[in-house]
Symmetry: D2
Subunit: 311 residues, 4 copies
């Protein structure tokens, strides 16, 4: 594992000198304030060893990476009933597109595009006030990461809510079809807060480790979710985790992963490791440019692609 | 491996008694003639052991499964230049949809939807007559399967060509954008013949084995294509191999696979096995109903899902 | 004009016995309460003669017919600046479709689909509270109809607002592009109230008479809007007044007209008459079935189609 | 009518000095050869007086203006059966869009977009060879114009056919749904030849005169088509005659009219006149820029808008 330490360090060193760093998201003023100069990486192996470099302990807005944890929470509460409200197909569209909702009767394609994640928030909040729902998501993440200091960045949450008109459009649209059942504002409140969770790469990689372990919590040895559900969440991350660049990410990196417009990506190498990278500059499709490149280098060097025959 | 023999036999036995068998494709008269009662399965392990059951040696029209081999042929000839003409994203649409072609400037989303496969045929035929192109695809498949008896079913090829108006629309549309360069009729001729290749499950599983071996031909030990390209083709099969049910297939089965409307599916368990199943009844999305179910049972029992941690 | 009285009576008599009466709108509970048995017609000639029959004096929810008067109000306030926010092309889509908004950068196609009418409400409300805006629209309609008793049906307005999720989606979507500038809730409040205006056929025909007179108010002889703007509003009514059945209405009736899901239609025969019909049963496209048929009979009998050569 | 002569001369004079002349169509090489400097106008009144100016006697490729005459021919042969194959709604899309065909089961929206016109050609050719069909369309136009010298420009027809891949896509797509029944190539041959008809403004205005006369042929006094069908064709020209700028043309000009990418427009003022203008430079929507402007000036000066109250 000396190699892994060196590899992680090398990747961070290369990222530090990269000149083409993508564009920092500016659709939320709070996100636009972050410098494109940052890069962090943290690898937590299945066995629990940690390797980190760069800004691995600096907290950033995890944004859509939170959708993985919300799906876990919704699955624990509702099991397969999640899939009556949300599909599991790649969308072939931008993350915030509303066209498919109209063509497909208000049902979002998967839980990792905005519409689907809002529907998941609604499922979690069902019949309760939104405060309980976001508290449950936070408790889940803190528990998985083993770190109670993880919290919502209130400035980002506020920024999301006052500029979130497209998300409000998606929520109202789904509400008109009964795909979301609760009050639109309450559901959106959960969603906006969830997007505003701030975590470091190290915290994120720790929180995702159970996904590399067939759903088993490393500290207790007890299942967070079943092995089958874990495989399925990994499958969804591979096919839908990078919006309309999911196919390209699978092609280049070959790992289940979920990106966020804050520049973070959580990637899972089943049986091997949980990996988090962060660099705020984005590709045109809204995924971290240097983060994707780092994961490509890591997968290439380690042979962790799920498509690798291991022969 | 005694277990695998029994498992394959059990799967075939269960399929034999299934009552909900899907609908046999009827858009081509020749395909509609096949009985929904058939079911075949063949597993060829990485090491070369073979396990087969049911109608594993009966030949059927492989249809879109041929797109995998055409992509291999095009990659050998043109390398990464393939990706200038064809994308690698799931389409989020039906296999024969033309909408995205208009929205995206005539460029097909991936090589496994009809438009993309036609563009791949055009690449192979480039600058030569179509006879040479289809001969090259046939030679490739015969070589990979180690079986010179594999051939095109002329009745199916004819049936395809006289009813192939939607494919002709796709080809003409791409031609108007210069995405295909050759004469439309010649390109379509390659495509229609390729779709009409007849193979058995056993032949198909043998032909796909190199994809489970990192691209290495099992008989010679020489690479058919590089390990990296092999991973990438497997990734494409996982994200795009089942049209607009690719996400669901990844969710349920977790293996790279390509289906055809003849009812065949070729699935790859990297490092483990190449698997072919066949049952002519289709799901509404155009994928073999019993074939998918059989692969789900196989993946479950063997733990071959690429999302399995192996811990 | 004895003929016109008899014609109007005949049309009403025929409508009274019609068996195929369409479906009463049920997307708002208040609208669903109205009986499909009603039919009213009122013709006010350019010279001011009135001919009415059936339920011509029963008030109904004018719904989208109000969009004509809101456009007049917005034109008076903002002139051609209206067209920077709203297009003037038929949509080729359903009245509440959101697809084109995404494909066309949030700009609604015309002021007579829901999105466009909401944008018009926002223009009227600009920089003021919504109460002033709806008051201005009401004052305009009362003035044009010469009838201060015209009012909003509060039960319908409430029903609109608690079920108006698709309209809320449209408004939020446009807000995200800056096409509407004011607070979404305030703008929607204007829109929902405007849709809930209750008028009789007679009141509606009187209120529309200036559109048959080149924009001149019949009582004062003063222009409400210029002759050119009047022609243009008539043109918009012809090309966009019946949602995605506008072409068919022009084909069959040949008059500028605007329909509402309450079953009302206001039609203008330039230089001849203002006509209002009402029957709550709708066609699948959301236009009054008997109302359309009545206008077809009237246009046929009078020769008032704008496409009539008068030779 | 001295005024009309002067008006026409003034309009031509203004057009001659215009600097912003639009872009000559270049998608067919033959069309691209025409100079943007041309402008012609011809007005033939209902009574038969003719007023012409500029290049009114220079022949140009009438392109889509031919769709009006093909619709007349199909209506004479098939009556209302035309409307089982073709709709009569504005498309809300570009002239050569294929998206709506997929969303609406292969049925074109109206006879004036490419798909609809191809379906009309197929109806005319039904059960006969394409030579008869194009001969019938030519005979119809020559008869209406009273001019046997009108002919197809073979270079343009050839140019259309060798570059017409998008039209071939539309035809094949409709053929797959049975919307066109004949051999695709034969149907396209009729369409390409029809588009390549060369006429002058004067010939075109003469040929359209019956549409201003309720369908009556001016020379014989006999109906070419019924008064009702004439009104309906005029309605279609108003709602669908300028592709996705039809609403704007109705808004600005207020006359039924059909444009072609050769730069010609045929406009009808029912009961007043048939008007043809020509200038090869196009707007982004594919309609003659100076031609549209000329018709706007003419309609403004004469008051011929169908939305004019004549009070």
């Amino acid at each position: 594992m000396a190699d892994l330490a060196m590899l992680v360090a090398n990747i961070a060193a290369r990222a530090a000198t990269a000149t083409d760093r993508g564009r920092v998201a500016d659709y939320i003023p709070e996100l636009a304030k972050v410098s494109a100069g940052h890069f962090g990486i943290a690898v937590v192996t299945a066995a629990g060893e940690e390797f980190a470099a760069g800004d691995a302990d600096m907290r950033f807005s995890i944004q859509s990476v939170s959708k993985v944890f919300a799906l876990v929470e919704a699955s624990c509460r509702h099991g397969d009933a999640v899939w009556t409200m949300v599909g599991r197909e790649p969308s072939g569209s931008a993350f915030n597109s509303i066209i498919q909702l109209e063509l497909e009767g208000g049902r979002p394609r998967n839980p990792f595009i905005n519409a689907g994640a809002i529907a998941v928030c609604d499922l979690i909040a069902q019949g309760k006030d939104s405060a309980e729902a976001i508290a449950a998501i936070m408790a889940r993440i803190r528990d998985l990461a083993g770190d109670d200091s993880i919290d919502i960045d209130p400035a980002v949450a506020w920024s999301e809510s006052v500029t979130g008109f497209r998300n409000a459009a998606l929520a109202n649209y789904m509400r008109s079809f009964g795909v979301i059942a609760g009050p639109v504002d309450a559901t959106l409140s959960v969603y906006f807060q969830q997007c505003a969770i701030a975590m470091s790469c190290r915290q994120l990689a720790r929180a995702g480790r159970f996904l590399a372990l067939g759903g088993v919590a490393p500290d207790t040895g007890l299942p967070v979710i079943s092995a089958e559900r874990t495989r399925r969440i990994n499958a969804l991350m591979l096919t839908c985790g990078h919006y309309d660049a999911s196919g390209d990410f699978a092609f280049r990196v070959g790992l289940p992963a979920k990106s966020g417009v804050g520049g973070g990506i959580l990637a899972i190498a089943p049986g091997r490791a949980s990996i988090a990278v962060w660099s705020p500059g984005l590709s045109p499709q809204g995924n971290s440019l240097l983060g994707t490149r780092a994961l490509e280098q890591l997968a290439q060097a380690t042979g962790w692609s799920v498509f690798n025959p291991d022969v």
